[in-house]
């Protein structure tokens, strides 16, 4: 599903790079945690996958497509196969909760009928059934995060990326979201989660990739959060 070879990313020429020599293979259907200190390169990793940015060196292959050689106009089609929960949510400020989630379906040309049935269903799953008409700035931080989560998987993408999906959620809600992601994974979706939530990582016992200073320092199946602190 995902294959990175010798990937490096340097945002500013004379500053230390955000990623160095990253080699990763992720199979279809895997459930992977990406952990690391603040600034260790987790979001950069995810942005590369979405082709939001291009790597400075190395090659990336997602869903059988070479992201470096990919033509610009093909990028939207790649992204439609990737659901992404962004660290800063990236909700459209002029659209309601409902419209934000529906947008992901409109983009791929789903019919009105499909949208009308799927969107409320997904919003119910993340516990936002009574915030359907609210604009993002009328939502609490955790509610915005859940809208972002709902939008990410409403179109059942084969690959789900989540950048810190529970940073603004209380432990109970986090647990709910995690079991939701786990259920989505069981249906065959590949799931990659960048997180700081030690409790969650430790309890799930899934594959863990740990970054530090842009390098992979650990890649364990059935791992734990680690870092002896």
């Amino acid at each position: 599903m995902i294959s990175m070879r010798n990937v490096g990313k340097r945002y500013v020429p004379d500053k230390p790079p955000a990623l160095v020599d990253v080699n990763v293979e992720i199979e279809q259907g895997e459930f992977v945690f990406l952990v690391g200190h603040s600034g260790s390169g987790k979001s950069t990793f995810i942005k590369l996958m979405l082709r939001e940015i291009l790597p400075t060196t190395g090659s990336i292959n997602v869903a059988g497509q070479d992201l470096i050689k990919m033509r610009n106009w093909k990028v939207p089609y790649l992204r439609r196969n990737i659901g992404c929960v962004f660290q800063d949510f990236k909700l459209l400020p002029n659209k309601t909760t409902y419209e934000n989630v529906a947008f992901a379906l409109e983009v791929i040309g789903r019919s009105k009928h499909v949208i009308r049935t799927q969107v409320p269903e997904v919003l119910r799953l993340v516990g936002l059934e009574d915030k359907i008409e609210s604009y993002p700035d009328e939502l609490s931080g955790g509610e915005q995060q859940r809208v972002s989560i709902a939008r990410a998987f409403v179109n059942r993408p084969p690959l789900l990326l989540a950048d810190e999906p529970t940073g603004n959620l209380d432990p109970a809600t986090s647990l709910g979201i995690m079991s939701l992601l786990s259920r989505i994974n069981k249906t065959g979706t590949t799931v990659l989660i960048a997180t700081h939530d030690r409790e969650m990582v430790d309890s799930m016992r899934k594959r863990v990739i740990a970054l530090e200073g842009g390098r992979i320092i650990r890649d364990q199946s059935r791992g734990v959060y680690g870092y002896g602190d």
Partner: protein, 304 residues
């Protein structure tokens, strides 16, 4: 993979309403720009009419010598009438010339009273289709072979022709400049309007660049993002154009009659064809500007 056709229409209207500060800004800009352009095109049509009515007074008078052979005069008249540039040729007899002179001299009838013989020559009065051709036609007349036979003073051809020699040059120099200035001014206004409109659309899209980036990240293709923006641009332009048209209409209906009353001697008028043309140009160019402006402004933010 059917696309909701209604999506784009709904989307552009909703977005127009929700981003009303921006939309209003764009509409106002388009409205005023088109108003300005429309007003100056209208005024230039009016000024052009006035200029033409002044120019139409330019004609050529050929003084004929007493006793010129009728065949010669007829031949000259026929030759002139055969010329494309000539509208009509009238013959003024010596007596008619004297009557005219009396009319202009009515303040000093003593002068006319003292005249014993009629000193005024008969003449051929040549009206032109395009007054600008006057010098050319004068040259043609001088070159005509029968002209020396009939001219009042054949040895001095210049003195046998009257066409306001100095005035004509000045008048045409002036009207030429006036027309050039008019065209330049309208071109300038149009260019400035374009820049203004493009500017305000660019600002409106700049203010929403984050949104566009988000749409891209969620997998929207460029045309999917662009279409509602373009339609919104067209909608804004349409509203602006209609408002401009309405204002111009009101001005035409309520202000023009007042001006016309004040200046009954000037041909203040715009034909209804001209009005419809101006309207159509305003609306269509408004919409094109809106669409093209939005498309250009969007390009920058559609790359990520």
């Amino acid at each position: 993979m059917g696309i909701n056709a209604g999506y784009f229409i709904r989307e552009s209207f909703v977005s127009f309403r929700r981003n009303w500060v921006m939309s209003l800004g764009a509409v106002i800009t388009i409205y005023l720009s088109l108003l300005l352009v429309g007003a100056s095109v209208g005024s230039s049509v009016v000024v052009n009419n006035i200029v033409e009515s002044v120019e139409d007074k330019v004609s050529i008078r050929i003084f004929l010598k007493d006793g010129a052979a009728t065949e010669d005069v007829d031949a000259l008249q026929a030759a002139l009438l055969a010329d494309d540039r000539v509208k009509e040729v009238n013959y003024t007899t010596k007596e008619e010339a004297l009557e005219e002179f009396k009319a202009t001299m009515e303040d000093s009838p003593e002068i006319v009273d003292q005249l014993e013989v009629n000193p005024l020559p008969a003449s051929l009065d040549v009206d032109l289709n395009d007054p600008q051709d006057v010098m050319d036609v004068v040259a043609t007349i001088k070159a005509n072979e029968t002209f020396p036979n009939v001219a009042d003073k054949p040895e001095e051809p210049e003195k046998s022709l009257k066409y306001g020699q100095q005035i004509v040059n000045q008048l045409f120099a002036f009207t030429r400049i006036l027309r050039t200035i008019g065209v330049a001014f309208i071109a300038m206004l149009a260019a400035i309007s374009l820049i203004f409109i493009n500017n305000s659309i660019r600002l409106a899209i700049y203010a929403r660049r984050k949104e566009i980036g988000i749409m891209r990240l969620v997998g929207a293709s460029n045309w999917f993002i662009r279409t509602p923006f373009l339609m919104e641009g067209v909608l804004q332009s349409l509203i602006g154009a209609v408002l401009a048209l309405g204002t111009l209409g009101v001005v035409t209906v309520y202000v023009m009659p007042v001006v016309r009353e004040q200046l009954p001697f000037l041909p203040f008028s715009i034909s209804s064809t001209a009005t419809i043309q101006i309207s159509l140009i305003l609306v269509v160019s408004g919409m094109i500007i809106g669409a093209v402006g939005s498309a250009f402004a969007l390009r920058r933010y559609l790359r990520v």
